[in-house]
């Protein structure tokens, strides 16, 4: 074989390699990242040393997968999380007063901020139309799917008092839940009631209030696929989980009565694919798993690590 033929072969090889490797379209293999199946995202905002403001990810067995995003360095407690799709979610951030869009790889970008969005930020919830509701002080702001604040004026979408029921007052609201009938429910620790708003119009209307939680600080709330709405009270000695109707009407059934060695001052709840409920127990710095009849599913805590103290929100996403 002549030298020229050999050089030609090498040149053809090199050109081919360049051609087949130049069509780059970035993306990771999600199965290889362990992103198959369902994933649990836990929001942690521990304001006492060691301070940590993170979103961590776990598989459906509670195994730690990684810290998705960490806001500790910028001093922004993460107060809530709302799922956009399998790979993207929106977090509400206190101190910096904004919503960030974050993907599972930890890439984050500003989603929403506004000069009138400057109070104390808590939970964020996504409505079926793609808009986002966020607790700000004793009001609730609304942003559309592009992050644009609903009102151009300083008036929030849901003010401390609003049309509908005179007794429907936002008083230290903490958690939001989208109910199956399209209404928005809000827990209030200041007046111990759950407010329910019709959010289908340009302005919200309060349609009902429920004080069936007792004077025990209702905080965590979960609109469950079984048609019920679960509310957890987190006054230290009355850490209970109650079941209401889906519309949060009428009296509650006690699903979990106080047992502080397992669940103490619950702060967040989420539904697992099998219908069981994850409960963030702030007093024990753990995440527990119970079924809808109040039986503990995982006898030893479902998740317990340095990120399960001061949990502010939990969501379950998946599966691909």
């Amino acid at each position: 074989m002549g030298l020229n033929k050999f050089i030609t072969l090498v040149l053809v090889f090199c050109i081919t390699v360049i051609v087949i490797s130049c069509a780059k379209n970035p993306g990771f293999n999600h199965a290889a990242l362990g992103l198959n199946g369902y994933k649990i995202l836990v929001v942690n905002s521990n304001t006492t040393a060691p301070v940590s403001y993170t979103v961590t990810m776990y598989d459906e067995n509670g195994n730690f997968l990684g810290v998705v995003v960490d806001y500790t360095n910028i001093g922004a407690p993460v107060r809530g999380i709302a799922v956009v799709d399998l790979f993207n979610f929106v977090v509400s951030l206190e101190n910096v007063d904004r919503l960030d869009k974050v993907n599972v790889f930890g890439e984050r970008s500003l989603f929403a901020s506004d000069t009138n969005f400057n109070g104390v930020i808590f939970d964020v919830e996504r409505a079926p139309d793609g808009s986002f509701f966020v607790i700000e002080g004793n009001t609730i702001e609304r942003f559309d799917k592009n992050g644009v604040r609903y009102n151009s004026s300083a008036t929030p979408y849901i003010n401390t008092t609003t049309t509908g029921l005179a007794t429907c007052t936002l008083n230290t609201p903490r958690k939001l839940a989208m109910l199956s009938n399209g209404n928005l429910a809000v827990t209030n620790t200041g007046n111990d009631i759950v407010n329910v708003y019709n959010i289908s119009g340009a302005t919200a209307t309060c349609v009902s209030i429920n004080n069936g939680s007792g004077a025990f600080d209702p905080v965590a709330m979960l609109a469950h696929s079984d048609g019920s709405t679960y509310v957890a009270t987190n006054l230290a000695a009355n850490s209970r989980i109650l079941r209401f109707t889906g519309a949060v009407t009428g009296a509650a059934t006690v699903v979990w009565n106080t047992n502080l060695s397992i669940i103490s001052t619950p702060t967040a709840m989420a539904e697992m694919p099998d219908g069981t409920i994850l409960v963030a127990s702030d007093g024990t710095d753990t995440i527990e798993r119970i079924d809808t009849s109040g039986q503990v599913v995982t006898t030893s805590s479902f998740i317990r690590n340095s990120y399960t103290g001061s949990v502010t929100d939990i969501v379950v996403v998946g599966g691909e």
Binding site: P26, G27, A31, L33, E320
Partner: protein, 194 residues
């Protein structure tokens, strides 16, 4: 039927043009570069070094061509083209296979059926390792320059397969595609005539 007709035309055409040879078996070593895509839900693209070895046993020696049954082994070590400082993925593909090779010098055509495995190693935001098994079909074309009973040349290989959801835990199967270019060295055993 069209494919069979095309193959017959190709066979007759090459049979009339190619160099005559009579071989008993063949060994081939290949070294090159591959570019793979695993689809669903995103396109995860990998590139890296690829190695392939074949042993062929002649089952037909014609006037100007040979038909061999082959056994092969593939190996490639690839990196995800999206790797950055926060997340990396490495994939090592390997596995044996069997196939058919039709040689009509200077060209060679072949198909393989392989039993592949892939080891995934992810580091960064997500640090995990996983292994999956899948099967692939490959087709390749080679151009070779010969000297005595050896040949040097160039191989272009296309490979296609499905990684089933039972392997990954995903809701859907993943499609696997690989395009590789090799420089090859072949050595023929048995009588070899030009």
């Amino acid at each position: 039927m069209k494919l069979l007709s095309l193959f017959v035309i190709l066979f007759l055409s090459l049979e009339s043009r190619a160099q005559s040879s009579d071989i008993s078996s063949m060994f081939e070593a290949q070294m090159g570069y591959g570019f793979a895509i695993i689809k669903n839900p995103t396109d995860a693209e990998y590139s890296g070094i690829a190695l392939r070895g074949l042993y062929g046993y002649s089952i037909y020696n014609g006037e100007a061509s040979n038909l061999l049954i082959t056994a092969n082994y593939k190996f490639s070590a690839m990196d995800n083209t999206s790797n950055d400082s926060t997340q990396t993925q490495e994939a090592t593909f390997y596995g044996p296979g069997v196939g058919l090779m039709y040689r009509a010098a200077p060209l060679t055509f072949g198909v393989d059926y392989n039993f592949m495995k892939v080891n995934h190693k992810s580091q960064g935001t997500f640090t995990t390792e996983s292994k999956q098994s899948f099967k692939t079909i490959s087709a390749y074309v080679e151009y070779s320059a010969s000297f005595d009973t050896a040949e040097l040349g160039f191989t272009l290989l296309g490979e296609y397969g499905t990684i089933e959801k039972s392997e990954t835990g995903m809701n859907q199967d993943q499609k696997f595609q690989n395009l590789a270019a090799f420089l090859h060295f072949k050595y023929y055993f048995g009588l070899f005539e030009e």
